[in-house]
Amino acid sequence: MIEVKELRKSFDEVEVLKGITTTFDTGKVNLIIGQSGSGKTVFLKSLLNVYEPSSGAILFDGRDIMTMSREDKQVLRSEIGTVFQGSALFDSMTVEENISFPLDMFTNLTYREKKRKVLEVIGRVNLDKANKKYPSEISGGMQKRVAIARAIVNNPKYLFCDEPNSGLDPYTSNVIDDLLLEITREYNTTTIINTHDMNSVMTIGEKILYLRLGIKEWEGDKNMLTTAKNKNLIDFVYSSELFKQLREFMLENDQTSLINDKPEENNEKID
């Protein structure tokens, strides 16, 4: 579980994050949504300590990343898997070498053990035929899958993904969403995904945090989206005509969920 308390981040005089407090649960897919410029990426990078927050606390299962020693931070970082928007694969390494990298750096496994683990995750993300290729030789969707494989190869406790669907076609986006959901269940990770993709929001959003202008405007889950009362959230999530009609249809038919699961107890919070 990751707890965020009163997180603030400023760049020079501009305050980008204005005191965000929230909790991301273990074994769940937590989504951060919001318009461009809402502070999503700054929030995600602050959680990862790429940006040092101005104030507040970030507790990874009770361990505050902002006050821990360099050594403890190193240990914590080895428990984190990250998927970047542009995949951030190492150009000079093959798919297999990219995936093996965290094992090379942070474990003392033998060559054979590493190979076995790498092949296992390559199979897990369905990349069996690409392991000897370089990142430039594979498609965007495959690159994302390699990035996911690299993020999970060292069995992380926390998985961070920055817009994993950006630049992908709808079919591949679904594949990536399903994969992230399955991995979260399988590895029991605390998964945090920064996304713009409303399809992801509707299908895998077990917890959704809506940011607007650096403030947490709403949090809830996918089932609460239809009946949410926050106008900014509604305008953002249902900005397309299709989604608007879908929402109207669902409200008319007293159906609050797109998926067949039952709506959870309404614990919607409006800040």
Partner: protein, 250 residues
């Protein structure tokens, strides 16, 4: 402007402090080192050989012309001696280093800069890898170890260039040239040349790495950083050349 320069110098030394530390994983480091030997050293062989051969020939021809025009007679064997001395003291360590600052410097700045803008360095940092150490230390070691080898080869090829020029033009004999290159020269000239080369190699690896590591933006900024890196590396090499010459030869 001056404040900016001092800030950059401060940042450069902070980055060096992070880069020059014990590697996190020895076998990964050795793998990277071998690759840098190839990318920074072996890949520069062709350019060094080509440049050294022709410059050696040009130096020898110019020495011969100057000696011939002298009002007092200078033996032809001095063509070999002068060519050797020029190559050892100045051409090979300094000019080849300036050329390498262009070739290797732009490679280092653009490769690290591209890693920065494509979030590869962020990925390393988030994983808990000391990215300056991982990216820059192998380049420093490869340059400092390999550049003196390149310079030694450059001296030999340059001297051979002068020899071939004499044979091709018929201006001086092979025997004269060989006598010239066998003339006494203080051995510390050689040490001075290699010391200079090692210092220049350090600058060639670290200044472009600083520019690449601190790129902000996209591909345009990577290009700009690469150009700035080459310019500042050349300036540093030339200033350091003056300081080292004053320190060791005056």
């Amino acid at each position: 402007m001056l404040k900016k320069l001092f800030v950059a110098i401060g940042e450069y030394f902070i980055l060096l402090g992070k880069a020059i530390s014990k590697p996190q994983k020895r076998n990964v480091y050795l793998k990277l080192l071998v690759r840098e030997f190839y990318d920074l050293g072996v890949n520069s062989f062709g350019l060094v050989l080509f440049t050294s051969f022709f410059v050696g020939a040009v130096v020898a021809i110019q020495m011969y012309n100057n000696f011939s025009a002298s009002s007092f007679p200078i033996p032809n064997s001095f063509v070999g001696y002068a060519t050797k001395t020029v190559l050892i003291l100045e051409f090979s360590p300094t000019i080849i280093s300036v050329i390498l600052a262009g070739k290797v410097g732009s490679y280092i700045a653009s490769s690290i800069g591209t890693m920065r803008v494509t979030e590869q360095i962020d990925a390393l940092d988030i994983m808990g890898v000391n990215s300056p150490n991982f990216l820059i230390l192998p380049k420093i070691v490869a340059s400092v170890v390999f550049n003196p080898i390149l310079i030694a080869i450059s001296i030999v090829i340059g001297i051979w260039g002068g020899y071939v020029a004499g044979w091709a033009t018929g201006s001086w004999t092979k025997a004269d040239y060989i006598t010239g290159i066998q003339m006494y020269m203080p051995s510390y000239f050689i040490w001075y040349a290699f010391l200079k080369t090692a210092v220049f190699a350090f600058l060639i690896a670290t200044i472009p790495a600083y520019f690449g590591y601190n790129v902000k933006g996209g591909s345009l900024e990577v290009g700009r950083a690469s150009t700035q890196a080459v310019v500042w590396t050349m300036i540093s090499v030339i200033i350091m050349n003056l300081l080292l010459t004053q320190m060791f030869l005056s």
